[in-house]
């Protein structure tokens, strides 16, 4: 079953058919969120750190042109070949060109959401290049011919039994094996052989330092390093927003990134690449693919501050209960729902609506992106541009009228509570996607306002 061709609400409905599994998914991600909270609480200056990160990124957005030029110049001096790709196709062509020049027909790759965004694996495969993803989670979903469902935990939608099945089929592990230690060991052996035999390795980039012309790649598994340090040719691909001015700014970002992502104090490896090792070739591809357009959208440019920690996904009540695949986009969850409409407004018009606008995402975001506000603003843009569904259009218009008038709002509340109490079927119907897989709560007998007026001591 392919959830990727469905809109978010429909795909979520598919995901929600298996209730125990949804509960498990929800709890697993909440567990990660709780670890983030514990890590953040250990840093007294946490909020100041977030503010600093946000300000540094605001500076980066406003000084992007000069920083990119500076970075390129310094990277070239370091002996790195710098390429520029205006869009996904150009990125993919550059990668293919580099691989073909080496005469290789296979490559090992560490996690890079950018290459997912560019659909690079499919492209390379169609040109006869075998690509092996080396991050364990990514390797698992690659074997299953699925995209990652989460940017930090690509296989978070799968149980150990699922992984056991997949490895039994592809790696010949024992049937029915579910021990993560055993399964990880099998993957380690398989991928070690891959690392030792590939001449070309591709990695993502977490941060690129303008001042020094180097870049930083963070992993826990050590897979980016294993690939890059053993290959003759290292290709690194980055969206241009990964740039930061100076190395000392990494102090801020590396303190925030892993704590926000998984609650670890830092990833096991934070590797700083400045020059190819003797005899090695190093390429860096700077990709736009809609980013300069987003930079020009006053309301949405802040989304380019993202450091891809996934905290907004782990905390999101909609993501946790609908799964990453329901977002049909390389980056899922709240931030993905802001980035995707910039790439294709029509195709991704449903995503900004896949949110309760509760604001939890904005509260955890380490670079203080106003995520839920941007989701709200996208809804307005999409409706204005005519990308809303008819049902949503009428409902939103009614909602806007009601919200604009305090009197109508109070009346609507009264009617609503009455309707829910006496005729819940009005809300619990299949035309209301918010009701699917949910029971409506018992409506309160009085509104907060009524209660407040009654209880207020004047």
């Amino acid at each position: 079953m392919n959830q990727l061709n469905l809109d978010h609400a429909t795909a979520s409905a598919v995901f929600n058919k298996n209730e125990p599994r949804v509960d498990w998914h929800d709890e697993t991600l909440w567990f990660v969120r709780a670890k983030r909270d514990r890590a953040a609480a250990l840093i007294p200056e946490w909020e100041d750190l977030r503010e600093a990160a946000s300000q540094i990124k605001n500076h980066v957005l406003s000084n992007m042109h000069d920083l990119l030029v500076q970075f390129e110049e310094n990277a070239r001096k370091n002996g790195i070949h710098v390429h520029w790709a205006a869009n996904a196709d150009e990125h993919n062509d550059i990668v293919l060109g580099i691989i073909q020049k080496t005469g290789a027909n296979r490559m090992v790759k560490s996690k890079s959401m950018l290459t997912e965004e560019c659909h690079m694996n499919n492209f390379l495969t169609s040109h006869g290049i075998e690509v092996i993803d080396s991050d364990l989670g990514e390797r698992i979903v690659q074997m299953r011919k699925e995209p990652p469902s989460h940017i930090v935990l690509p296989a978070i939608h799968l149980t150990r039994a699922d992984v056991g099945e997949t490895f039994h089929e592809h790696l010949g592990t024992e049937k029915g094996a579910t021990d993560p230690q055993y399964l990880t060991e099998a993957a380690r052996q398989h991928l070690r052989d891959t690392f030792l035999t590939r001449k070309v390795a591709l990695t993502g980039v977490n941060f690129a330092i303008a001042e020094t012309g180097g870049f930083v790649v963070c992993t826990n598994e050590g897979n980016a390093d294993m690939g890059a340090h053993l290959a003759d040719v290292h290709i690194a691909a980055m969206g241009f927003e990964k740039i930061i001015p100076r190395a000392e700014h990494l102090g801020v970002f590396l303190r925030l990134l892993a704590r926000s992502a998984t609650g670890q104090p830092i990833t096991a490896f934070s590797s700083h690449f400045h020059k190819p090792r003797p005899g090695q070739e190093m390429h860096l591809i700077i990709v736009d693919n809609g980013r300069s357009r987003q930079l020009g959208r006053t309301e949405f440019r802040n989304s380019l501050k993202c450091i891809r920690c996934a905290a907004c996904m782990n905390t999101c009540p909609v993501y946790r209960r609908s799964g990453g695949h329901s977002y049909h986009s390389a980056v899922a969850g709240p931030i993905g729902s802001i980035l995707a409409p910039n790439l294709d407004m029509k195709l991704n018009a449903d995503l900004p609506f896949a949110s309760t606008l509760c604001g939890s995402c904005s509260n955890v975001c380490p670079v203080k992106i106003d995520i839920h506000d941007q989701l709200y603003k996208w809804r307005q843009v999409l409706m204005r541009e005519g990308y809303g569904t008819t049902g949503k259009g009428a409902a939103m218009k009614a909602m806007a009228t009601v919200l604009e008038s305090p009197r109508l709002y109070r009346m609507a509340g009264k009617i609503g509570r009455g309707v829910l109490r006496f005729s819940p079927a009005v809300a619990e119907n299949r035309f209301n996607p918010w009701f699917n897989q949910r029971e409506m709560p018992a409506p309160p007998s009085e509104s907060f306002r009524d209660w407040y007026v009654k209880n207020k001591k004047s």
Binding site: I56, L68, L158, G251
Partner: protein, 194 residues
């Protein structure tokens, strides 16, 4: 127009008015006992710390901890007697059978257990990942409280590569259960010399 020119022109046209860098982006961390803090965090990230008085103590510990281990290499002259192979290879693939690498760390960070290594400690960049087991020797005097302090002390581009290594390699990609020893070393011992 090349893509480079096009991208840069679009960026220039679309970027907002200059926003200054913040003045406050370095913070101080205070730990009652910085050595203890480092040791606790290292344990939390799956590593193990041993306070030792001298190189002889390290030798003794390694011999007891990894009895009969072969394919051992070190860059530390004082520990040369433990080694039966070398890290000074020109092709990194030659390290594929390495069991234990014993290297020096340049600086260690108390808040997260990270140790900075660059090519002065790593004759081959892949050493701390390709080895099955890893031991790093640090001086307690190189401990700094946090990452801001670390970046004040190091220069990231003195050599072509450097890494902050915190604990052994790990993954939680199978149902969020932690497994130590993903693609890099399966264990990390840090020896702390005064």
């Amino acid at each position: 127009m090349t893509s480079r020119e096009q991208i840069l022109a679009n960026v220039k046209a679309n970027q907002p008015a200059l926003h200054p860098l913040p003045e406050q982006f370095r913070f101080t961390s205070v730990f009652p006992d910085i050595v203890q803090q480092f040791m606790d965090i290292l344990a939390f990230v799956g590593g193990k710390a041993e306070r030792v008085s001298d190189y002889e103590a390290i030798k003794k510990h390694i011999q007891e901890y990894y009895p009969g281990m072969t394919n051992v290499a070190t860059t530390i002259p004082e520990l040369a007697s433990l080694a039966d192979t070398t890290l000074a290879v020109t092709d990194p693939h030659d390290l594929a059978s390495l069991n234990l690498a014993i290297i020096e760390g340049q600086l260690a960070v108390a808040e997260n257990g990270a140790i900075w290594l660059d090519e002065r400690q790593l004759p081959q960049r892949v050493t701390p990942m390709i080895t099955q087991y890893l031991a790093i020797v640090i001086r307690e005097s190189t401990l700094v409280p946090n990452m801001h302090d670390a970046y004040q002390r190091i220069t990231v581009n003195t050599t072509g590569f450097g890494t902050f290594l915190s604990g052994p390699s790990k993954t939680a990609d199978i149902e969020q259960s932690l497994v130590i020893g993903a693609h890099g070393a399966r264990s990390l011992i840090v020896y702390m010399l005064p």
